[in-house]
Symmetry: D2
């Protein structure tokens, strides 16, 4: 059983929490905590053996902790995700494969794409695909997408190379729920065409960044980043090709962390208790 706690910091919190769990005869298998001194915030993720009455444990922890504490005991063990894509297959296929073999940590409800070319791979994995063109009537498109989303349970919306900018109005409906993969080492090369920008600048590393989406384009809390080497022989299109491998890996890692309840959001940063 997983317990996740986020609250203002205070002397003795660990003693209180671990004392309560010991009283309940729950054995702590793993415990990770972090204190953000600047923000005076406390974060903790616990794995305990045995399955007590979740509800009363959550209440007991709430009573123990500072006001405003967020406590989740056994946060939805099977997350539900909706995936949005444009044309590129690599992140989507990776997600569909993991979903199919039950190693994603969430179940994919449906895929929404603004092109049709990825409908086939979804069909092969028995996942509903919805085509919503996004070219001219963004408002209309977003409203169609909201309609589709509303038909499915969902904990997270994963932008798996969705190459359109969603409006702040759309994003604000899903706070801390939209995860994007950006094809650069943010904050370098935010915005459109990062590989072209990277090529022009002559960088020696190519990066990818998975982050939560907020109102500000490419400015949300970063979950995971990674890079691979590039050199002078890379054309912009070689960078795109090499970048795909790292995009797939970084998004996969970020989803693993999020779906496993390891990621906390604190202002514009994440705390990832691996």
């Amino acid at each position: 059983m997983i317990i996740v706690i986020q609250c203002t910091d205070q002397v003795g919190l660990v003693a209180k929490i671990s004392g309560l769990l010991a009283n309940e005869n729950l054995n702590i298998v793993s415990m990770h905590e972090h204190v953000d001194k600047g923000e005076n915030m406390f974060f903790m993720r616990l794995e305990v053996t045995d399955q007590p009455d979740d509800v009363s444990l959550e209440q007991k922890l709430q009573q123990l902790l500072p006001k405003g504490a967020i406590v989740r005991v056994n946060p939805s063990p099977e997350k539900k995700a909706i995936v949005m894509v444009t044309k590129e297959y690599h992140c989507l296929a990776d997600i569909l494969v993991r979903n199919h073999f039950k190693t994603l940590g969430a179940s994919v409800q449906c895929v929404i794409g603004n092109y049709t070319n990825l409908a086939d791979i979804c069909r092969r994995f028995d996942i509903p695909f919805y085509h919503v063109p996004f070219e001219n009537f963004k408002e209309e498109a977003e409203s169609s997408i909201l309609g589709i989303i509303s038909r499915y349970e969902h904990d997270y919306i994963v932008l798996a190379k969705f190459m359109r900018v969603l409006s702040p109005g759309f994003v604000s409906r899903f706070p801390n729920q939209v995860i994007n993969i950006h094809h650069s080492f943010l904050p370098a090369f935010a915005g459109a065409n990062p590989y072209r920008q990277a090529y022009e600048r002559g960088v020696k590393l190519i990066g990818a960044t998975a982050h939560f989406v907020t109102d500000e384009l490419d400015e949300g809390p970063i979950i995971a980043q990674q890079i691979i080497s590039a050199d002078h022989s890379f054309t912009a299109s070689d960078m795109v090709k090499a970048g795909k491998e790292i995009e797939t890996a970084v998004l996969a890692k970020a989803l693993r962390m999020v779906f496993d309840d390891r990621v906390f959001i604190c202002k514009n940063k994440t705390v990832v208790l691996e």
Copy 2:
């Protein structure tokens, strides 16, 4: 203040320890713990603010914990190290520089070398250098070295590219105190000439391993490892050259961890609470 605990595992240990610290009005700044289930061992490293009476805190913790617990409050804040070398300068120079600028985490007492070529760099940093030839009379050499060591306080002996094999008798006098840098990704290429072995095998990565030295050659607990890429264009001597960079970095990292009281030894493995 740092507190380090190693004992058999038991339900409620974290609650007990953090409860005691809260009672003493000590604020936990950082806490890392690990439980090795196979060995049923508990490891913890705490940083707390304020400086209580170390001795009584150590006793109180001892009383609280399972029999046989190892508790150290404020383990020697300035470690003392003796360095042994052969001919290569790179690890030694890195250690001397950090020592000179007080960023090593330990103070170097003296350097013992089986060649004379590194005497000069030691002299430049005002560190005593002792020349002990090691060719024919190993027993004699080891006994000279023991004599030198006995004249200095020392917590650790660092083999910074010391290319002779020390006898089990010698090593056993310094349990968990001798740290070596081996120029391969152990357990691959143990023993002599690892780069030649790596070259012959055509590996695509070159590694380095920092480990505690035990009776069995290159078999002690591993503290840190790292690799860099190699390719077909590397000669054995290119591998040596590239390897030096990584050897320096890995040994530096291992020493940082050890000197900062982050490394616990459990049978033939380490627990590194970073």
Copy 3:
């Protein structure tokens, strides 16, 4: 158009080859060469624009080069591969996805598995799957597999987590054609259960190695290797899980290099002209 050359080294080879191509009005787009001094061997991979008469160019190059030279102009531009698996899906699914989207660099002809659980994913991608149990009658199994292979064109046989040892007789039928992914940083942890071995040894890095298969188990020429970090908190099963990510990536990279005619074999090593 790609030209691949492997021959004994000799002064003036580059001048001869590039002179001939200039005479034929072929513009060199990229040229990589390597000389193995120990073996006195010369390796070259060229990309040139335009499509001359392949056959006569191959003959002209042959006449120019030392006796015994291997010259291939436009080596089969669409490679054909047969994949063998046991139970794990990760490498296979990655190959099937790339194959499906035509980015593998080869076309998968069929999959042979000694369990049935991967038949479904093959069916979803319209790739024939053959079940050949391998438990008791290895000779019989190998003979069945040979029968299946003989029905398909094939340039390479990819062991994508095929966990049985093929007999030397089997392997010798496909010299330099069988590619395996081994789940360790070879030569460390050859043989069975490498993650268990790695766990027991307490290594701080987990590796994977793609290599050509020869008579000697896990001793063939290495094509690509990579590692990821591990630490004391990894159980043997965490190592398996983390290892899968790196196995998939390393095998994908090795196949990209091989299928793109970048890998030469020289005794027990590879030359990879990236």
Copy 4:
């Protein structure tokens, strides 16, 4: 002997060059070339055995190649470097150690610092140190520095954590000769206080960039970049500390490449023929 060529591209260049060398009975040990198609530029680095008459070989190559070709045969085999620093020791000490043991690839002529604290380490290595305060009278300071530089032969000026901005007038006197280490993964976090910026942004990787200095701050051609992982537990000051390791390594690598005549500059990018 090393030969370095940079000229406009043309069909048959490799044939011409290698033909000439074959005529001169020079055996090519290693050859790296690159063609930048966008700029239509050709770059080549050759290592050949034997020592012919450098001057006439250079002339012969010039006659053979397109007008405006830059040809250097045996470019100054012992480079001379002047190092500028502020307060931090790590990059300087690494350079001084390599210089001392003749593995830097250049000889350090003197060190110029705008603080005095690094005078001591220079003295220990018998390298002249000049103190030029830089606080208020930048023009005056730069003129003092120019005076010092003029007294020494120099191929390169290395800014080894020199934390003041040099004026365009100063920089333009040393085109393609000033090398800087910037403590971020450029173009992210250009300008002052990159670690503070990185901390505020919550990045999961910390980078360092070695680049040639041009008029535009932090915008010159990038030579080498590298990163290390960071996480939520890093304070800004932890990032500084971790960053130092990578800064040292990246600058060392860049200098090795430059001093070994492997780096070509083409507009705002480098070609690094490793």
